[in-house]
């Protein structure tokens, strides 16, 4: 509103339409940081007011989730990893409980949505990015190898008559400086290599295309 002095007013409502006291932490020309009292579903109404008269009004609905159960399914050992450390940037050691499954151990924490790091002094824990905004459950592997990699994504575009083509993304853990090369292989359930599909350079993204046959 060029030329007009205006102020911005906020009003917070709960699911029942009750007005809820709101604490505004800071506010700029086009942003505001507000404190939400507790987890729940809310509607925030924003008004532009000039001369005591509302000039415009808009609203948005949102939900603040409370603490939730987050599970880490760690394969590679049936034993509970006693020194497993699950942490966030603000909490260096989150308490967990564990249940032994068939080939894995499920570690459970109760925490608000955020990103976690998972580690151990005795095991290398490899898995996806542990951000619970998208996932409430994570599957990872425990290994005692010095170096390990983790599959980030794989897409098979063609798979017919023994021909394989697609794209895969992966990243590695540990000291990548000692890795000379990667190879993509087809193995059977016993780990025996049956087909050397291709060699892979050392980028963190690798695309392979038509013609890499395997049987």
């Amino acid at each position: 509103m060029p030329g007009k002095q205006y102020s911005t007013e906020f009003e917070l409502f709960g699911v029942n339409g009750d007005s809820i006291p709101l604490n505004i932490l800071s506010m700029g020309q086009n942003f505001a940081r507000i404190e939400i009292p507790q987890p729940g579903a809310y509607m925030l109404v924003v008004r532009l007011v000039s001369g005591g008269v509302t000039q415009d009004e808009d609203y948005g609905r949102f939900t603040i989730a409370g603490p939730q159960l987050v599970n880490f399914y760690i394969f590679g050992t049936d034993q509970v990893i006693g020194d497993l450390n699950i942490r966030t940037s603000s909490n260096p050691n989150i308490n967990w409980t564990s249940v032994q499954g068939d080939g894995f151990v499920r570690y459970t924490i109760e925490h608000i949505q955020t990103c976690f790091s998972v580690g151990s002094n005795t095991w290398l824990i490899t898995g996806p990015s542990y951000c619970s905004r998208e996932e409430g459950n994570f599957v990872a592997h425990a290994t005692q190898a010095e170096i390990d990699t983790h599959l980030n994504d794989i897409k098979i575009d063609t798979w017919a008559d023994g021909e394989l083509g697609g794209t895969l993304w992966f990243y590695w853990f540990g000291d990548s400086g000692v890795i000379d090369d990667y190879r993509l292989v087809v193995v059977d359930r016993n780990g025996t290599v049956h087909s050397n599909v291709c060699m892979i350079d050392k980028p963190d993204k690798y695309e392979f295309h038509n013609g890499h046959a395997f049987t």
């Binding site: 080939g103 490899t126 619970s132 459950n137 592997h141 190898a145």
Partner: protein
Amino acid sequence: MRIDILIDQGYVSTNMAVRIDQVELPDTIELLDADPRAGWLDLTVRFGKSADESEIALYKIITPRHAGVGSTYTAIVEANDQEESYEVHFGGMETHPGDRVILQAYDRDGYLILTHTARPVIDVMTAQSGLIEYAGCYAEVLECKPADEYGTYPEPSGAGFEDEDPTAGSRTGDLEWTVPDVSPARVIAYDLYYADGESILRGEARVNRIGDGEQFKFRLTNVPQNAEYVAVVPLLTQNGEYLYADPF
């Protein structure tokens, strides 16, 4: 399929592996929506055992990732011998045209099995009293997805409904027709409404579609007694945009 790394000692296997052999996933998968509003789900996913259950350690269910009451849209189910089937209640979430639920699995070594299965979401919308306002933000959802008008939608052939319910005044049966070729657009859902001779009585469901199958089929139950027609609004996508066509 696995990636190995070459170090001084030679090739060393890594845990970067996926199962590319054929593992059967459950073929009985039900998606239940207990929320009668258009654009919202109260989602429960049920599925039976896999024919290769002994190969599977975990099932992973991935639901549409839209804003919703909760913010976690995946679930892990541990395979076990005690259950005849599995059930996960996700609760409330938004749904948009074309949504589907994907079922994946991890094998006993914790490796993702490449084969997966998907089912289209059926959004129950029996609380919808008239036609959805497709060109606007019709539902009180957090992420607005207005649609453009498609133009003339070809009349589907082979449309039919056969009442299988012998009870007077009660109708149950399959509604079906052949999906016309509308390429380069693609039909991603049909919105079904009951109508009398003059107006829409109420909504029934948004039936999303997966793939380009030629036949559409949906089972109608509890058809309102005064319903004379089923009005169908095709929802399409082209170049990433939602489109809607006039009802037929």
